[in-house]
């Protein structure tokens, strides 16, 4: 198995082990998620191999190669507005109290922004933690790990919720061994042939190769 696949799993395992119910990690780039699903799952993190460069040494055509790769760690959060509903639904509350509760209410986009900032901080601190410099792999498997970039999307209203996405780009370097294609093992299937043999009246002679 090429090292980028090993690293992807190590990245997912590292984030997943440190998540502690603060977010949920999936190891692939999923299809679209429903805003309700993201909200019910708190914050969703998807880690996947995004791109890789294989710099070519002058005059080399065979042998192991360097693989400088980038993993995307995508975040999706979803939030609703927040307000002190105990006051707002209290028919005995004075208009002044209700007004204060409405003024203090926060917009869903703000709540989503706070959630995203938190999960970006969690993931960044986990990935840049000195203890995770090798993502739990044997020393020397990978090098030059770095979180290069953080990106935040624009809040999008999804139904009555607001969804916000973000991304960290994590790069590192490994040596890929070129083992060549192993091909596909021949199966053990059989070929059944009916032979038309003179004198075989019922023609039920089969040869199973």
């Amino acid at each position: 198995m090429m090292n980028f696949r090993v690293l992807q799993q190590a990245l997912i395992d590292t984030l997943g082990a440190a998540a502690k119910a603060r977010f949920r990690v999936t190891g692939y780039r999923g299809q679209g998620y429903d805003a309700k699903e993201v909200k019910d799952n708190n914050r969703l993190v998807q880690a996947y191999y995004a791109s890789g460069d294989f710099p070519k040494s002058k005059g080399r055509f065979t042998g192991d190669t360097q693989h400088v790769m980038t993993f995307n760690v995508d975040f999706s959060v979803s939030a609703s507005a927040k307000a002190d509903l105990s006051v707002l639904t209290d028919s005995g509350a004075t208009p002044a109290r209700v007004q204060a509760a409405l003024t203090a209410s926060t917009d869903a986009a703000y709540e989503a922004d706070v959630l995203l900032d938190e999960v970006i901080e969690y993931a960044y601190q986990i990935l840049m933690d000195g203890r995770n410099v090798d993502l739990g792999l044997p020393v020397g498997t990978m090098s030059s790990r770095w979180v290069d970039r953080a990106v935040k999307g624009a809040p999008q209203p999804h139904g009555s919720l607001v969804v916000l996405t973000g991304q960290l780009q994590y790069s590192c370097q490994v040596v890929e061994e070129v083992t060549g294609d192993e091909g596909v093992l021949a199966g053990s299937g059989s070929v059944t042939t009916q032979l038309d043999i003179d004198g075989d009246d019922i023609e039920q002679t089969f040869v199973d190769n």
């Binding site: 609703s80 927040k82 307000a83 509903l85 007004q99 409405l102 999804h158």
Partner: protein, 123 residues
Amino acid sequence: MGLRERVEKDLAVTLEGQWSLPVNLVSPEGVRTDGLRGQILYDTVRMNPETGEDVTVERPVVTLRRSSLTRIPAPGEKWLVEIPQTPDETASMEQYMISPVRPPEGGRSIGFIRIFLQEVEQS
């Protein structure tokens, strides 16, 4: 009676008639107006821009008769809106805020206002 006036009067039937549901409003000043009647659309169909597919989105839209309101919600204001959880007269009321990204719309000449809602939870 002019045509616009007649259409506005018809809202008493089309918006506040038998198909209507109860709506409560709380204005930014904290003034509660209970017992309003309006039409509520609980789901809307939108197109997923990535796939071109139609998807049903849970996004309640409330349409009210302007002349039944003592104060008209303006864009950017924080209003609490209570509607039944399901399209049932007796269902318990659920709280929403007016969406800050989709201002209320409606023709002043026709006399209704359409309000887009955002979920709200206890802070």
